[in-house]
Amino acid sequence: MTTGTLHRPPPRPADPGDGATPARARKRRSQSGIAYLFLSPWVCGALLLTVGPMLASLYLSFTDYDLFTSPEWVGLENYKRLFTDDARFLASAKVTAGYVLISVPLKLAAALAVALLLHRNRRGQGFYRSAFYAPSLLGTGVAIALVWRAMFTDSGVVDSATGAFGWDTGGWINEPDYALYVLIILAVWQFGAPMVIFLAGLKQIPTELYDAAAVDGSGRWRTFRSVTLPMLSPIILFNLVLETIHAFQAFTPAFIVSGGRGGPSNSTLFYTLYLYERGFSQFRMGYASAMAWLLLLIIAIITAVFFGTSRRWVFYSGEDR
């Protein structure tokens, strides 16, 4: 960063006779106005597109609303229906829970393993980092989801390959027992983003700690457990929270792979897929709002649990405990 690129405006004479305290007070007041001027797009967005809609959707979740007639108050009916009278909802909750529980740990483990492999300085390291990151960029789009669909279909590449070993699956995406794994593999494939964050974290660990561990005669595994993992724990927490939030909201791959239906037999019916179906195919906006608020609640609880338990397993260096 060079300050040479600074374009300085011509100096103006300072306002003479500025007393210290009133000037500061005046400055504070005038800064407030300027601050809100700078913030005005943000304020509009926060009020009109975030806070307002949040309150509105909370209200709508207690109503029957089809977008064309005005919402009709039904109290807790939507929430009650969700849990007692909607097999599709329960299926979607189960599928999503399974997806989050399997894909997030696998993805983070892959990210950490490859980060450890790429951490030491070797030739081509920069290139390798970028290459491992590439799937994270491509994988969120429709194109790669289509590739997955074709690769895991009946007599597709994967089926042919496993068929050569006598395991004819009939195409993973057509089998309720396997279909979800197609999406899990696609999620894990995109481990590059958390990997890069792990790499940045590994760089922050002081080498003295490793020297000390070596002096103590710690083996590789012991050093990893006693130095690397604790020092990396804040990064692990960060990645865990973000990946979990993302996984709960996954939509595109399930929509594309299952052709928008969540099949076969609801095995890829992600929560968001069902929410979309209720809201935008069937125009049950009140019902979909109730689902959205449940999602928010679940994410908030899980995040709170992560942060709440983090004091026990996250280690911040320089922290007195």
Partner: protein, 306 residues
């Protein structure tokens, strides 16, 4: 792998050993072997990892009848007709229309995020006002907020304004700094800039507006570039909000156009579908190749996700 075999001897041709002394020590050859093993391992993993992308590229030039059945990456003959069919588009709409729509939405989003997030970030990072703490905390919280919670009322608003089917619902939120992550990113970046610069500008007679314009904005460039690249790629890849808001094939973006192929059950559309898939990831690949250092550093320093 000849290098593996002659890893012991210094030079197979018996010429003078010009390597640094350290590598001639006993044990050095073992380290070198490990190094080669490391490269082999990494390249093997990469081959496996990038196989689907290669498969896509290969498939897009295969004749349709070979697409699903053949394990071989190489086509028996080249099938450029996939690309001509993809160029013709679908439902009577040229692929350039979809491309243009995607570009419009992406560019609009980039400009929106750059302007609104930079303004907000400067206020949060440098200006004093009473609600700064709570408002910034609110920004951080909205990073975790699922889009689905605000989606339905937002949709209702845009529907009442008769804007569903236009690009406004996709771009306007960016102009209003609703991508909290980028606000956060820029705030962190500005906080890392020395305050003395602001003080100097103030002594020179600059108010906040001029300080922002002439001091902060030029220095903020790395964060702005990161924001621009990621906004572009994310918008380009975005499917959900475009699926919700765009309902007329003429306004479809590339992801939505690709989806049209799924509804066609006949396998004859497979070749053009993958050709169009390739076209749709070309901008992302170009961005990746051009900015890979920025991309990797961007997420490393800010915690952005792909």
């Amino acid at each position: 792998m000849t290098t593996l075999q002659d890893g012991r001897s210094a030079r197979p041709d018996g010429g003078p050993d010009v390597r640094p002394a350290s590598s001639r020590r006993p044990g050095a050859s073992a380290a070198r072997l490990r190094g080669i093993g490391w490269h082999v391992l990494i390249i093997g993993m990469l081959a496996l990892l990038l196989y689907p992308v290669v498969w896509l590229l290969a498939t897009s030039i295969k004749p349709t009848d070979e697409i699903l059945s053949s394990l071989s990456l190489l086509p028996s003959r080249l099938a450029p007709e996939n690309y001509t069919a993809a160029m013709d588009g679908i439902a009577g709409i040229s692929v350039w229309t979809f491309f243009g729509n995607s570009v419009l939405v992406a560019i609009g989003s980039v400009i929106g995020n750059l302007v609104s997030c930079a303004l907000a970030a400067y206020a949060f990072a440098r200006l004093r006002f009473r609600l700064r703490g709570p408002l910034f905390a609110f920004t951080l919280l909205t990073i975790m907020l699922p889009y689905h919670v605000v989606l339905i009322p937002q949709y209702t608003i845009f529907q009442k304004l008769d804007l569903v089917g236009t690009f406004v619902p996709l771009i306007l939120p960016k102009l209003l700094a609703t991508d909290a992550f980028f606000v956060f990113l820029m705030v962190q970046f500005i906080r890392g800039l020395p305050r003395e610069l602001d003080d100097a500008a103030e002594i020179d007679g600059c108010g906040p507006v001029l300080t922002f314009r002439y001091v902060i904005l030029p220095l903020l460039k790395p964060a702005l570039v990161t924001t621009a690249i990621f906004t572009f790629i994310w918008t380009w890849n975005d499917f959900f909000s475009q699926l919700v808001y765009l309902n007329d094939p003429d306004s479809y973006t590339l992801p939505l156009a690709l989806r049209l192929f799924i509804d066609q059950t006949s396998e004859s559309a497979f070749g053009p579908m993958f050709a169009m898939s390739v076209l749709s990831i070309v901008p992302v690949m170009l961005f990746f190749l051009a900015f890979q250092r920025y991309l990797v550093e961007g997420i490393a320093t800010s915690g952005l996700k792909g």
